[in-house]
């Protein structure tokens, strides 16, 4: 069985420009929530490819000196599609200066757009954002909410307004797993899973970094979150796993 394992993050991305997989102006999905579960070493490697004018689809934008903040510092990002970008002064400066474009999506809509894109669904209706800025200019329709157990859905027997949102698909996805095998099967850990599984399905080329890499066959098939067929390359990294808000209680 051919292995998808690369020696370093740099090697995992090195030939992607000459192969036309990434290019100036391409779209990249980057997993993570805050700094939790970000493909941190692949972000550094993406910076080092020098690719620019990127549209980055990622829930957040990192902090000034880590995560996607690194690509903001080097001005390689032209547009972000995110739900929240609070923790980043570089972002703020470039946005106010008109260098950076931002498209805010509600977090669940962002997650579902990525899931839909990966699942071959071009668009879907959601109640999220109806009556707000994010629904302006988009097609609407009225439906009965899906009926579950009586009372599960609010106003279950009344039609509601829904807005049409489109699926997202990228040129490249960078994801972070806890464990990968050499075929690309991935297992995530705790809340570091977040956007990674959907992003692994929603790009033409997918690279995963993992804390642990094992041989194909060593992960119980029932424990695999992302089947290896979605993943093109795997790299083992020693993650820094920076913490944004260290909150503790007394022992």
């Amino acid at each position: 069985m051919a292995t998808k394992l690369c020696a370093t993050p740099g090697e995992a991305l090195r030939d992607l420009r000459e192969r036309g997989i990434i290019f100036d102006g391409c779209t990249v999905m980057v997993g993570g929530f805050g700094l939790c579960g970000i493909p941190e070493q692949l972000i550094v490697a993406l910076r080092d490819t020098g690719v620019s004018g990127l549209t980055c689809i990622s829930n957040n934008a990192g902090v000034d000196d880590w995560g996607l903040g690194l690509l903001l510092q080097t001005r390689q990002i032209r547009k972000m599609i995110s739900s929240y970008v609070g923790e980043n002064a570089t972002f703020e400066k470039q946005y106010l200066g008109g260098e950076l474009e931002i498209e805010f999506n509600p977090q669940g809509t962002l997650a579902e757009r990525i899931r839909a894109g990966g699942a071959g669904i071009p668009a879907f209706y959601t109640a999220t954002g109806v009556g707000t800025q994010v629904a302006e200019g988009k097609p609407h329709a009225r439906f009965l909410p899906p009926l579950g157990k009586a009372g599960v859905n609010r106003d279950a027997f009344q039609e509601r307004d829904y807005v049409l949102e489109t699926g997202l698909f990228a040129d490249l996805a960078l994801v972070k797993a806890d464990t990968a095998d050499t075929f690309g099967n991935l297992v995530y850990r705790r809340t570091a899973r977040n956007f990674n599984p959907m992003m692994a399905t929603a790009a033409a080329f997918v690279v995963a970094e993992a804390d642990h890499v094992v041989n194909a066959g060593e992960i119980d098939p029932d424990r695999i979150h992302t089947p290896g067929s979605f993943v093109d390359r795997v790299v083992k990294t020693a993650s820094v796993k920076r913490i944004e808000q260290r909150t503790t209680r007394k022992a």
Partner: protein
């Protein structure tokens, strides 16, 4: 005396029922976790992918892979489950969360809420707030009744960009508690803070609300 932040949180916690799946926002809503009534078991959902938030970790328990939606380190309680953001928001959008408690800058008399764009400040994004108010079965808002300038934040129509339209079920402020009758699309004044009169609430509320003969006092 108007309610303080903890008293507002305690009043919100009185809405919890045994077995509820609940999502708490940032600010006063986070304090609700400290006031869960005895004998009630509540499962806290974190929209970044955890059902069953436990207490903050000890220094030795800190796990960078385990955070809440405010990016704080947390623990998972026994029986907790972790899942993707798509599953998490499927849970939220699909009506599988019993209640959410969140803060607001404005609430309108028809149940609109504005809480994601602060006037005069750079927009940071709505995060999961729009999904929560659109999908959760009961939406409870906690906020100060008036702005620092003394203007009512409970208004006829929101002036700030909306987070959701016609979604708020209950409003708990430092002065009063209101519930919204969805069928009639009207808020009703239910309780006033101890020492606060109905007239004072009326004078400080720009929104048009129903005021029944019987208005009780918030238990503190």
């Amino acid at each position: 005396m108007p309610l303080d932040r903890d008293q507002i949180a305690r009043r919100a916690a009185a809405e919890l029922r045994d077995g509820y799946i609940v999502n708490l926002g940032i600010g006063i809503p986070t304090l609700v976790a400290n006031h869960i009534p005895a004998g009630i078991d509540v499962w806290l959902q974190s929209e970044n992918g955890l059902l069953g938030i436990g207490p903050f970790p000890t220094e030795a328990e800190i796990d960078a892979d385990l955070i809440n939606a405010g990016k704080q380190t947390i623990t998972a309680r026994r029986g907790a489950a972790s899942f993707s953001s798509a599953d998490s928001f499927g849970m939220i959008r699909g009506g599988h969360i019993d209640m959410c408690i969140l803060g607001a800058m404005e609430v309108s008399e028809s149940g609109d809420i504005a809480n994601w764009m602060v006037p005069g400040k750079l927009v940071k994004g709505m995060g999961g707030a729009m999904d929560l108010v659109a999908g959760v079965r009961k939406v409870v808002v906690t906020m100060e009744h008036c702005s620092k300038k003394g203007e009512s934040k409970f208004v006829p129509a929101c002036t700030l960009p909306l987070t959701g339209r016609g979604v708020v079920d209950m409003l708990i402020t430092d002065l009063a508690v209101f519930t919204r009758d969805r069928a009639r699309n009207r808020f009703v004044l239910r309780e006033v803070a101890p020492g606060v009169t109905v007239d004072e609430v009326r004078s400080k509320t720009a929104a048009s609300v129903d005021i029944p003969d019987l208005v009780s006092t918030v238990l503190t």
